[in-house]
């Protein structure tokens, strides 16, 4: 199974990845900038994401909204920011490929002349509202703030969330926006992928025409940081929720590193779906939790694994904790069954095939090519990525669980209803979150 492509690098360093798929008359344009909230600093958090918003507010030669001409040409488009990267994409009819390249290249090369204080202040308000909507006014919405802050030390770039701190967002100045653009938004720090129904020679010509003259800019070096936990941290806070919820989190290997795929499969078999061990015990048999889930969140510098369970009414988080600890210990001692390993492999294969169905958008083929290119310098990694999952054995999975899901090096967080600090898991101290 392969995701075929051709890679070209323009004279200014811009990587261009081309993947033909003539199944549907559409073309995906996908641009990654290798910058995210990990490139921010304490006191200046939330900046990479706020900047992403400004990229939709017009550039020098089209100093109006970015959406209108593209939507008028039949495009759908969006962008997103995470800790490690920022991406922007359009899916357009083939006859609007040139328009999309014009628009993307104009904001890569000519954003700042159009960036005014008024746009900046408007999008800051929008982002503060995004934060209210998705974090502050949402039950359990502040959990990531508490978990990341406890997992990573204050100077580690994963200590804060991508949405950022309110005070930092309120303090940011327009000149910082200009400096940020100059530092990170240029061809040497970007990767452009096209996927879909286009002629590759013609498309490469257009890409060169629109992007080839943009100044390369400086290469951006990797961000280095390390984190370790030497003991267990037990925290709680009160929130506007009905049922208490328990979170476990551990530091784990980075994206694509040894142990990453093992923990991906381990978290699945522990807590995802009705076949998982924890669903069976907590929700199906003992009925002491209403839900349970888990994930290995692999990032560029480091990863963290997380297990989350919500208590059923009249059941204590301590009861749930005991079951989770017991199941992890059992997996660490005995490893998975052959059936669990077989199912994990088939599911991985199916998920990889499903990923080949769409050219654009978040997670489409163009986005995957850019992910492999930006993080590994190797767009061809798709089939080897699947191979990582096929290489997982009962023994390697068991060892990864034993090594990383260690009860003595863990963050344990309880979120409890207001006024019910007594419902937090035993021994927890108050976390301050906002």
């Amino acid at each position: 199974m392969k995701l075929s492509y051709a890679k070209h690098t323009l004279g200014n360093g811009l990587d261009v990845l081309l993947h033909e798929d003539h199944g549907c008359p559409i073309v995906a344009v996908n641009v990654w900038y290798h910058v995210g909230s990990k490139n921010e600093h304490p006191g200046h958090t939330g900046f990479a994401h706020l900047f992403e918003h400004l990229m939709f507010e017009g550039s020098q030669h089209h100093d109006r909204g970015f959406f209108q001409p593209l939507q008028g040409a039949g495009a759908t488009l969006n962008g997103s920011t995470n800790a490690d990267r920022t991406n922007y994409w359009e899916v357009v009819p083939p006859n609007a490929l040139e328009l999309a390249l014009w628009m993307e290249s104009d904001r890569m090369g000519f954003l700042l002349p159009a960036l005014t204080e008024a746009k900046f202040s408007n999008q800051r308000d929008v982002v503060l509202n995004e934060r209210r909507q998705n974090y502050e006014n949402r039950p359990y919405g502040l959990a990531p703030m508490a978990l990341l802050a406890a997992l990573f030390p204050p100077d580690h770039p994963y200590h804060w969330t991508t949405i950022g701190e309110i005070a930092d967002l309120q303090a940011v100045q327009l000149d910082e926006v200009h400096a940020f653009f100059r530092r990170y938004y240029h061809p040497a720090n970007a990767s452009l992928a096209l996927a879909g129904d286009f002629d590759p020679d013609e498309a490469l010509g257009l890409v060169d025409q629109y992007f080839g003259t943009i100044d390369a800019g400086l290469r951006v070096g990797p961000v280095r940081a390390s984190a370790s936990l030497s003991d267990e941290t037990r925290l709680f806070f009160e929130d506007r929720v009905e049922l208490p919820r328990l979170y476990f989190a551990w530091l784990t290997p980075a994206m694509f590193a040894d142990g990453d795929a093992d923990l991906d499969l381990a978290t699945d078999l522990l807590a995802n779906g009705k076949t998982s061990r924890l669903y069976r015990r907590l929700v199906f048999e003992q009925r002491i939790a209403t839900d349970v889930s888990a994930s290995q969140n692999s990032r560029e510098i480091a990863g963290y694994a997380q297990i989350t369970a919500t208590a059923a009414p009249d059941h204590a988080l301590d009861e749930i904790e005991a079951v989770i600890v017991d199941e992890i210990a059992r997996l660490a001692a005995e490893g998975p069954t052959d059936d669990e390993i077989d199912r994990g492999r088939v599911q991985a294969e199916a998920q990889f095939v499903f990923r080949l169905q769409t050219i654009g958008g978040f997670g489409g083929k163009s986005d995957q090519l850019n992910a492999y290119n930006v993080f590994l310098g190797d767009p061809a990694y798709f089939d080897r990525d699947l191979e990582r999952y096929h290489a997982v054995t009962a023994s390697s999975l068991r060892q990864a669980v034993a090594r990383y899901l260690d009860p003595l090096r863990r963050v344990t967080l309880s979120i409890v209803p207001r006024g019910r600090a007594d419902l937090a898991a035993g021994g927890s101290t108050l976390a301050v979150v906002s």
């Binding site: 008028g72 929008v126 003259t213 009925r287 199916a350 169905q357």
Partner: protein
Amino acid sequence: MTGRPGPVDGRAVMVDRSRLPEPGPAKPFTFPSIEKSTLPNGLGLWTVTHAQVPVVSLMLLVRCGAAADPPGRDGLAATTADMLDEGSGDRSAIEVHEALARIGAQFDTDIGSDAIVVSTTVLSRFTDRALALLSDVVVRPALRESDFDRVRQLRLHRLTQLRDVPGAVADRAFLKLLYGDHPYGHAPIGSESALTAMTVDDVRAFHASAIRPSAATLIAVGDCAHGEIARIASDAFADWSAGSASLSGERSGDEGRAFERSAESRALPRSPRLALVPRAKAPQSELRIGHVTVARDTPDYHALVVANMILGGQFVSRINLNLREDKGFTYGARTAFEFRRLPSPFVLQVSVQTTATAEAIHEAIGEIADIRGPRPVTPEELALGTAALTRGYARSFETADQIARAVMQLALYDLPDDYFVTFVPSIERVTCDEVSRVMTRHVDPARLLTLIVGDPDAAGANLARLDLGDPQILLPETF
């Protein structure tokens, strides 16, 4: 010309940044053609061959949803749908899911007002096993009492948790205020009192009466041929009986239409103009503004779709540009005609910072009123809205799952086979005058209900200026 020359194959090419490139002629697109047959028990089988990737999407549509919940049993259809994968024959719920996991299946059950949809996407080499499993869960669910007790308990816990989710609170309260006791007056999850009163016998009876082959359509899209799917489905669904004698032979639609006629005759309540669900110290107000309007089968469908695009259906809509891009009150605002088989809600949804509540409502209602005539749609807006709907239409048919969902709309709303082909020309025929006409006819600013889920003190300030009267206060326990 403001660009600089760039070298391509040694040639100097000037980049013209003085104007945007005009898209050339559109590429032709062939819409999926649907092959149809009917199994002896009345189950409709619709397939589309889409062999891009070795994947098959299977969807079983049952044209019966939460609107069919009997009085006092709000949530029964959803609970029944939820029970389908909780064991089949002598297999437990977990064993059913292990079987799905062994073929790497994605499996989902969806419930809406008018339908239950059970769907699975698999690698095409597992099509036969997936169809057998789909039949097991839909036709032969175990519906055991112990599983029912657990599922009902989980749904009650879910209802408890939803009390703290502002969007869910707003949706439930809004439906109740708009529809009252009408079949659309409750969310599919139902209410605590109805779930508490429900028994496993209710579920068994609902399954027996509602989930029948004559009310269902099996849709298969992917790397598969109609004949092959028909052969496998005939086996898999062979023992799904057509239903009781009195119903067998009856055309599927008739009974549904009789139900709909009786539902339609139920009067809608008189909604207040302004209502508030208190959420003390909430940083945002979750708003719903709208009223009940026409159903999916309105002849004005295409004109309303265009009108909605311009008003609140896309990023560059009037309402989003006003509330987000001009005022910065919100992360995003949108409107929708939430079309269903019966008269459907028109609704504006937005979550705004608490201090801007009254002003956001004023602006939103102003935009809805203005598009009907005072500030009619301009030719430029019409061209943009129309183009956004038509030029990108092909991308809704990229994956097997997308095609299956598109085809399902035809089955659910009795749309003709050439619906996709006629969509673009029907949208392109809409004029500015027609947008004004349909918005005037189907949306009435004087009838709009505005619902706020937010802080009663901070959000409540300045509400009097809106001239909507005192807000009716709703407590979360009452809906």
